[in-house]
């Protein structure tokens, strides 16, 4: 803990170096897992995943525990936020809706040996999940876009006195 505090209190340059080392560890973890997956070594997953998790927490905490460099990052997020949201929403929702809608296909091709009760239960559950997901997404997406519209208009252009460079 003392070491971490010391590290956090060090000069920007050393913190930057530490962050680079952290990123290096993350990358090593990825390579290790990839190799393990190819040659089927199970133990590499644990070490690789541990390295990735701990190093990302370390880098995140290191950057978080230092003076804000907000304006540039906020501006980047702000300019891309709506496109990003639309993309993410599509990637998250499309497979889900297609999967749930496959239910109707399933009903058409259902073989005679499937009991009607089972089909009914499955249909009810799937329809229920489909409806509630549709409703909540229909409520959330416009609100999210509205929120982003507001924030884009209101992001302060001035910095808070902290120079990013």
């Amino acid at each position: 803990m003392t070491t971490l505090v010391t590290l956090w209190n060090q000069a920007t340059e050393r913190r930057f170096r530490s962050a680079l080392i952290g990123l290096g560890v993350i990358l090593s973890g990825v390579v290790l897992i990839a190799i393990g997956a190819v040659v089927e070594w199970g133990w590499t997953r644990l070490i690789g995943a541990g390295a990735i998790s701990l190093a990302s927490v370390f880098v995140g905490a290191l950057v978080g525990w230092s003076d804000p460099v907000r304006p540039r990052i906020a501006a980047v997020f702000s300019s891309w936020s709506r496109i990003l949201l639309a993309l993410l929403a599509f990637v998250m929702m499309a497979p889900l809706f297609i999967g749930l809608l496959a239910l109707f296909g399933g009903l058409f091709v259902a073989l005679d040996d499937t009991s009607w009760l089972s089909l009914f239960a499955g249909t009810v559950i799937t329809l229920f999940l489909l409806i509630i997901t549709l409703l909540t997404v229909a409520l959330a997406l416009p609100l999210a876009f509205r929120g982003l519209r507001k924030s884009s208009a209101e992001v302060p252009s001035d910095s808070n006195g902290q120079d990013e460079s």
């Binding site: 990302s56 370390f58 998250m92 302060p156």
Partner: protein, 701 residues
């Protein structure tokens, strides 16, 4: 065959690698968000909140994790909703960890598998149930926000996005499971009682289609999980961390105690005007708010449409801190979340005036309803008083009406313009004299009870009637009591709550010095504000006394038979309702003694107002508000009087001189004078007592 399943079924090498690789992004975001918040808290002043850690931990587990303070009678629907989401989510999280341990630790390292057999079957059952819990909770939340729409609940994009993410995560989980089962159709598939019927419908589709849909949904589920984790620290979902921390490090002092400014003469800054003036715990406080709005449910300023809304005030401070700390302020997380109401205004604002308006600061009655109902122990009142301290002591900026109060306190030792020599004038209206402590001490006579009359009880003509009634009760019951008389001074309560800590300290120290000169067994007072100061704030400055409120003493006297009430008394012929004074009820948890007194009055039939006990609505007089004009929103005292009238009662029983003054005014305000009256419980008891000769309660002329 042993029941189990293949972990990472239908997932190729890209999936097996990618699932770990993508963990880096949400972990980085999460760590950054939490570290930045802690970094901001660290900007605050030091404060020791690390004492009795085991007790703190136990209380935090009880109140937060076990929902002891979340599921409450006043918010049952919201409490159950939160319980379902929280515990459903926790169970699903534990389920994920179990799979991780099996797949990444025990099997590859030890060659041991536990994810099978009966354990697996129960696991499947519990996971399906947990998913339903989350869905039920999320639907309840939507129902509450869009159908019930309680006034104190505001819906922001962040709220709906989070609920949707939770729902989508669970539905994706069910679908992925159903798609796998549709291909594998294990013998034990029915244990997944939600996904199994879905799988039955899907099973006759081509296997390739189901596998394809499984892959797509598996990736989509991973993506949603990562987005959820990454968004965590920038949305109100951070509250499991910040709220738990807040409950863990909450103030363990009595609720009614406002902290002193130590060594006030040497203090560089007074009160709260910038982030650095807060203690780290106060900064954490503002980050712990989960926007539930329970602080508003019984808040008199919210109910009467004033600018002050405790939740918004806390969120404004939180947003300001986020601006200062650069926690993506202005982005989706903060914009419609913590800094919802002053979003994106930037860090270069003054706290007072720029972030929190003076109207908000001065509207507070310090009734404590916000703190009482906050599930995570946010301390709104000290925050507001802190800003008042800065306005009063640093800027000399306070409502004009308060000037006279300060002047009188300085010169007359009471908020009123009466000289101390007239403090005991009320005793002249008694048939029997009342001794003063100085006389008793001079005669070396013991005093059992010191009657601390208080400023309103001494000088205000309406409250003098309460004082007289109590004195007569004490005399009639044969209680050996005396008063301080001209030596009595204000406890400093009004000055302290208004923010004049300097004056408050002088008044308090002066009172303690006076009290410490004398010997007595206990103090009785009819003023809950004096009671609170003596009980909770005086011990810190060397004033340790056994103090009781007059309702407690009267109840004791009735119980012991020292006071006999006339069963044929015709004083009470109608219904009576009782108003809980904030400084007696919420701050000192005395709800029953006054009720017991009222109920013991012959002929009385007590009815409760809908807002009672810890849910009581303030009279509007606390926090120095009694001395200020009420120019914003509707009048609190009239609102409360109307609530009392609506019960059908003809009498409102009070137990506080501040409430008495506010209600007398409120009755006139609603035009109910003559039909409805307010009386102190001492007056009610005295009027229905069987009078008898005093038994040497007080000697001397």
């Amino acid at each position: 065959m042993t029941p189990t399943r293949e972990i990472m079924w239908n997932v190729d090498v890209w999936g097996e690698t990618g699932v770990y690789l993508f963990l880096a992004v949400p972990f980085l975001f999460l760590a950054f968000g939490i570290a930045r918040r802690v970094w901001m808290w660290n900007k605050g002043r030091p404060e020791n909140r690390f004492d009795e850690m085991w007790s703190r931990l136990w209380n935090a587990l009880r109140d937060s994790v076990a929902h002891g303070r979340i599921v409450r009678q006043s918010s049952l629907f919201g409490g159950i909703m939160h319980f379902l989401i929280f515990w459903g989510f926790i169970l699903l999280f534990i389920g994920t960890i179990i799979v991780l341990v099996e797949h990444d630790i025990t099997v590859p390292l030890l060659g041991y598998s536990f994810y099978q057999g009966n354990f697996y079957l129960v696991y499947k059952l519990v996971m399906n149930l947990a998913g339903l819990m989350v869905i039920a909770g999320v639907l309840m939340a939507f129902y509450r926000r869009y159908v019930i729409q309680p006034a104190h609940v505001k819906t922001a994009p962040d709220d709906v996005i989070l609920l949707t993410l939770l729902l989508v995560l669970v539905v994706q989980g069910y679908l992925v499971q159903a798609l796998r089962l549709s291909v594998e159709m294990d013998e034990w598939a029915a244990w997944s009682f939600v996904s199994y019927p879905m799988a039955l419908v899907l099973q006759d589709l081509p296997e390739g289609l189901n596998r394809g849909l499984h892959t797509a949904n598996w990736w989509s589920h991973m993506l949603t999980t990562n987005i959820f984790l990454g968004y965590f620290a920038y949305s109100k979902m951070i509250h499991p961390f910040t709220s738990f921390a807040n409950v863990l490090f909450r103030r363990t002092q009595p609720l009614g105690k406002l902290e002193r400014i130590p060594e006030i003469e040497e203090a560089e800054t007074l009160g709260l005007a910038k982030i650095e003036d807060f203690s780290w715990a106060q900064l954490m406080n503002s980050d712990a708010c989960m926007h539930c709005g329970r602080c508003l449910e019984f808040c008199p300023t919210f109910i009467t449409n004033k600018p002050l809304r405790p939740r918004d005030l806390v969120l404004q401070v939180s947003g300001y801190m986020a601006d200062k700390g650069g926690i993506f302020s202005g982005e989706l997380g903060q914009n419609e979340n913590a800094a919802r109401f002053r979003h994106g205004a930037g860090p270069d604002r003054d706290l007072i005036g720029g972030v929190v308006s003076e109207a908000e600061i001065w509207d507070c009655t310090t009734c404590g309803a916000c703190m009482e109902h906050c599930p995570v122990y946010i301390e709104h009142v000290p925050l507001i008083v802190g800003m008042r301290q800065n306005l009063v002591l640093e800027q000399g900026d306070f409502p004009g009406e308060i000037t006279n109060v300060f002047n009188n306190l300085e010169r007359m030792s009471s908020p009123y313009q009466f000289p101390p020599s007239r403090r005991a004038d009320w005793t002249k209206r008694l048939d029997q004299s009342v001794s003063e402590m100085s006389e008793m001490a001079a005669r070396e006579q013991d005093v059992e009870v010191l009657f601390f009359v208080g400023c309103l009880g001494s000088f205000d003509s309406r409250n003098q009637r309460t004082t007289l009634a109590l004195a007569r009760i004490l005399q009639s019951a044969g209680v050996n009591f005396a008063i301080l008389g001209k030596e009595e001074t204000c406890t400093g309560d009004p000055a302290k709550r208004v923010g004049n800590e300097y004056l408050a300290q002088i008044m308090a120290e002066q009172t303690v010095e006076t009290l410490n000169q004398y010997s007595f067994k206990k103090i009785v007072t009819a003023c809950p504000h004096c009671f609170n100061a003596i009980a909770n704030e005086f011990p810190e400055i060397g004033g340790n006394y056994d103090v009781v409120h007059h309702s407690q003493l009267i109840n004791e006297l009735i119980g012991s038979g020292k006071i006999k009430l006339d069963p044929n008394s015709e004083i009470m012929q109608g219904k009576v309702t009782y108003h809980d004074p904030c400084y007696l009820g919420r701050y000192n948890k005395e709800y029953e003694a006054p009720r017991s007194v009222v109920q013991s009055i012959p002929g009385s039939s007590m009815v409760e107002m809908p807002r009672n006990r810890n849910m009581s609505l303030c009279c509007g007089g606390g926090g120095g508000r009694m001395f200020m004009e009420e120019t914003r929103g509707s009048r609190i005292n009239q609102t409360r009087v109307q609530e009392a009238i609506d019960t059908g009662a003809s009498t409102l029983a009070a137990a506080c001189p501040f409430c008495m003054t506010m209600f007398e005014d409120g009755i006139n305000g609603v035009g109910a004078e003559g039909d409805f009256e307010v009386k102190d419980i001492a007056e009610l008891v005295h009027e229905s007592m069987i009078k008898r000769e005093p038994a040497g309660a007080s000697d001397g002329d």
